[in-house]
């Protein structure tokens, strides 16, 4: 059964992928990209990667799509037909693809329990997490503790993106007393927005703090949180959203989340441990791990949410007023 769904999803992905490349309308391509992302999120669920699925859905289908739409609004939604069909890219792609397919020939088969990935390193995570970290979600334990440093790096990446977008597009404040004219008429959106906004925030909080036990964690929560505000901004106008969370506050929160994460690492060094060694944060290693994970997940959540929101603000504020 799983295999059937898997296959169907893959075929759908292929169809979507080809359509995206062929599509001349960028708007349509964006929508298809969103679908592509959702399809892969579904595939991730089938493949037992629930955390990844959640993230992909929130980031790929959510934020990325919004950014693409914002960009299209600022640029154009028509792709000019290419004057020529370049041969070189085709050859490069075919060679790359052939190299990869050649590479697959000696791969362990899909789902094979004897594959090296299932025999080395990973089993230790599954085996030791309950004892060493004390939380059931192994993805969270690896993410936040065993490979917590990668996550710090990841946070730095998203921080870089935030700083970068801010640098590139700058930020323009606007009056914001008016709702965006296009949306003011859409009563349904406003009602739904009002209805959903608190629910989304609540869900974000749940994802944030339930990440130890089920799928979720700082990244997903941050993205969901940001999505809630983006919805708010869409329904009630950018100005109102900015009154709720001003740009300056975002800037501080972006930095704060990062500093919180690094602070945990430095604190553990000051307490005599290694960088990001949560064991020393409390008397008992396991509660130390708990504390550390909660704190850094919080840092991640804060920074991700504020970066996402900031990027959105920046893109939107680039739009000429009344031209939404």
């Amino acid at each position: 059964m799983e295999i059937l769904i898997d296959t169907i999803l893959l075929v759908l992905l292929m169809i979507t992928g080809f359509s995206i490349v062929r599509m001349r309308s960028l708007l349509a391509a964006t929508m298809l990209t969103s679908i592509y992302s959702l399809l892969s999120a579904s595939l991730f669920v089938v493949l037992d990667a629930v955390d990844v699925a959640l993230t992909e859905a929130a980031i790929g289908a959510g934020i990325s799509t919004i950014l693409l739409l914002a960009t299209i609004a600022l640029t154009t939604d028509r792709e000019k037909p290419p004057q020529r069909t370049p041969m070189l890219p085709l050859i490069v792609v075919i060679i790359t693809g052939m190299a990869l397919i050649y590479g697959t020939l000696d791969m362990p088969h899909f789902g094979n329990p004897q594959a090296p990935v299932h025999l080395h390193v990973a089993p230790a995570y599954l085996h030791d997490t309950p004892g060493e970290i004390g939380i059931p979600n192994v993805v969270t334990s690896v993410l936040a503790s065993y490979r917590g440093y990668d996550t710090l790096g990841e946070l730095a990446v998203i921080f870089t993106a935030g700083a970068g977008v801010l640098t590139l597009l700058g930020y323009r404040t606007r009056g914001g007393n008016s709702m965006d004219p296009g949306i003011r008429k859409l009563l349904i959106l406003r009602v739904i927005g009002k209805l959903f906004f608190p629910l989304i925030l609540l869900f974000a909080l749940y994802v944030q703090f339930h990440g130890d036990y089920g799928p979720g964690g700082g990244f997903q929560a941050g993205v969901i949180f940001a999505t809630g505000f983006i919805l708010y901004a869409l329904a009630f106008g950018l100005g109102n959203a900015q009154r709720l969370i001003p740009h300056q506050l975002l800037r501080i929160m972006v930095a704060f989340g990062m500093l919180l994460y690094i602070g945990v690492g430095i604190e553990s060094m000051l307490l005599g441990g290694k960088f990001l060694e949560y064991n020393v944060l409390a008397d008992d290693p396991v509660s130390g791990q708990h504390l550390g994970i909660i704190l850094i997940e919080l840092g991640v959540g804060i920074t991700v949410a504020s970066v996402m929101l900031m990027i959105y603000y920046v893109f939107r504020s680039r739009q000429p007023e009344g031209d939404l």
Binding site: V11, M14, G17, F18, I20, V21, L26, A29, T33, Y36, S40, F44, L47, D48, A49, V52, T55, E56, I59, G60, I63, S64, L67, L68, L74, T75, E79, P86, P89, L90, V92, V93, G97, L100, T104, M107, H109, F110, G111, N112, V117, A122, Y125, L126, P130, P136, V138, V139, V142, L143, R147, G153, E154, A161, L169, F219, I311, V314, F315, R318
Partner: protein, 118 residues
């Protein structure tokens, strides 16, 4: 599954990857390139998640009575990679916006023509 059938999953993923890759390097439209990049990267994620899969396994959240879990490590890696991909997309799109403002076009061929004139 036996023989080459056990690899079909990877092959489709490779085709997906190459679809995205092609869009990046063959399309002159900058937004299309970013979309291509996105597809390319997302497909790589599927490759990673596929390898984490284990027959008869379940999501790596420890529960009583379950012995076989899929591999959590690739999941973690891909969580990171998704965020990286988003960061790249955001930056790329910001650049596209600026390029549009500076050149009035987001078609690579037209941009080159303008650069030549400079």
């Amino acid at each position: 599954m036996s023989g080459l059938l056990g690899l079909y999953n990877y092959w489709i993923v490779i085709i997906l990857m190459m679809t995205g890759f092609y869009a990046v390097i063959a399309r002159p439209n900058l937004i299309k390139q970013i979309i291509g990049l996105f597809i390319f990267q997302t497909s790589v994620f599927i490759l990673f998640i596929s390898m984490a899969n284990i027959e008869g396994g379940t999501a790596p959240i420890i529960k009583e009575g379950i012995r076989l879990y899929s591999n959590p490590l690739p999941h973690v890696l891909i969580l990171t990679a998704i965020v990286v991909s988003l960061a790249t997309t955001a930056l790329g799109l910001a650049l596209v916006v600026r390029i549009k403002e500076a050149y009035g076009t987001i078609n690579e061929d037209n941009i080159h023509v303008q650069d030549e004139e400079d």
